[in-house]
């Protein structure tokens, strides 16, 4: 009987050991959707170009990716994105959304208490339905704001041109670092 019990226990231990070596966690890979939802904190890292991280229904969530990253975040208390060039960053229905992105960044932020982005040259920034927005452009960029219609200090929206491009008020109420499009 003791042998039998020992055999049973040993079998279970061996199988457990085998299982512990098979940790097949999902990873984020370029070109494949990569979601994080539910719970409290999630920060997604994705190596390589063309990643598509998505965060929703969490407290804090963020993505760190490289070029050509398509990052989405919604129903989250605080979203963050850090990416290289040619990124699309979309945030909505959250408390705060921030991004640091490289050249030719498309940043869209709406239905948010605070939007903030530090964007590279040639970036397009769209914001609406926010309490406060702060935009920093290291080169040229174009900022559109709706509800409020204009991006100015009076409406809680500020644009800083950190490079040599000058701050320009465009005729349609948008703002640019450099020439208006």
């Amino acid at each position: 009987m003791r042998r039998l019990f020992s055999a049973l226990s040993l079998s279970l231990v061996l199988v457990s050991l085998a299982l512990s070596g098979c940790n097949d966690h999902d990873t984020c890979d370029p070109g494949r959707p990569c979601d994080c939802s539910g719970g409290h904190d999630c920060y997604i890292g994705c190596e390589g170009d063309g990643c598509s991280p998505r965060c929703f229904q969490m407290e804090h969530c963020g993505a760190v990716c490289e070029d050509d990253c398509n990052s989405q975040c919604f129903d989250v208390q605080e979203c963050s994105t850090s990416c290289g060039d040619d990124c699309d960053v979309s945030c909505h229905n959250a408390v705060a959304c921030g991004a640091i992105c490289g050249d030719r960044c498309n940043f869209d932020c709406h239905d948010m208490d605070r939007c903030g982005v530090h964007a590279g040259n040639g970036s397009e920034i769209n914001v609406h339905n926010y309490s406060r927005t702060e935009i920093e452009c290291t080169g040229t960029c174009h900022v559109r704001s709706a509800a409020p219609d204009a991006c100015d200090d009076q409406h809680g929206c500020s644009v800083k041109c950190l490079g040599s491009a000058a701050l320009t008020m465009c005729g349609d109420g948008s703002v640019a670092c450099g020439a208006c499009p």
């Binding site: 009987m1 003791r2 039998l4 019990f5 055999a7 049973l8 226990s9 079998s11 279970l12 199988v15 457990s16 085998a18 299982l19 512990s20 098979c22 940790n23 097949d24 966690h25 999902d26 990873t27 984020c28 990569c34 979601d35 994080c36 539910g38 719970g39 409290h40 904190d41 999630c42 920060y43 997604i44 890292g45 963020g62 993505a63 760190v64 605080e78 979203c79 963050s80 994105t81 850090s82 705060a96 959304c97 921030g98 991004a99 640091i100 605070r114 939007c115 903030g116 982005v117 530090h118 406060r132 927005t133 702060e134 935009i135 920093e136």
Partner: protein, 204 residues
């Protein structure tokens, strides 16, 4: 992968368990002698834990740990009057350290302040372990099969801590067996969800 192995474990346990039970039953069966088991009020059972299945919540992988189960005997003669069975109420605490989170969930290792006061994560890492604490409450239904063997089923529920938060799962289920070293000391094995365990019971 894990489901297949889980089935193998289950099948192995059932086959070996049945074999041992059948063999012993022919010799010194006590299952048809109601009340013919150790007279105890409390079962104290320290044990080792392993979590082979993904736990409730967002943990993932395999978990290892330690725990304790205390069971108060409520009925010396259980729900089936013609069989040697008893009923208890069990409370436990189990600590398990799992491999990480399910999916791509990582942690931020470096924040930098961003515009509008939003911290921006600029460096992440995968999580190499996740700590769980389970607090199960179960109804333990014992069947005292043999002088050396008893088995039990334990349906119940559990609170658990993960990610710094207290959560609740309305369903836990265990099945176990005891090998009686003496009348009051047993080797106790338990399989089920969310944990397996191997320990020693003291029938006090």
């Amino acid at each position: 992968m894990s489901r297949t192995v889980w089935r193998v474990v289950l099948a192995l346990s059932v086959v070996l368990g049945s074999w041992s039970i059948c063999g012993s039953a022919q010799a010194q069966s006590t299952i048809k002698q109601p009340g013919a088991h150790a007279n105890y009020v409390f079962e104290a059972e320290p044990h080792l834990d392993v979590g082979l299945l993904d736990p409730p919540g967002f943990g993932g992988g395999t978990g290892w740990g330690v725990g304790f189960r205390g069971t108060v005997q409520l009925l010396k003669n259980g729900f089936i009057s013609k069989l040697n069975n008893s009923v208890g109420l069990g409370f436990g605490i189990d600590y398990l350290r799992y491999d990480g989170w399910q999916g791509p969930r990582g942690a931020c290792r470096e924040f930098t302040p961003g515009p509008a006061g939003v911290p921006i994560c600029v460096r992440t890492s995968s999580i190499d372990h996740v700590n769980y604490f389970y607090l199960p409450v179960v109804l333990q239904w014992n069947f005292w099969l043999h002088r050396k063997w008893s088995v039990f089923g334990e349906p119940g529920m559990a609170f658990y801590f993960q990610d710094g938060q207290l959560e609740f799962t309305p369903f836990v289920l265990y099945a176990g067996g005891r090998y009686h070293i003496t009348d009051r000391i047993t080797l106790t094995m338990r399989i089920g969800y969310p944990t397996f365990s191997l320990g020693v019971s003291f029938l006090l």
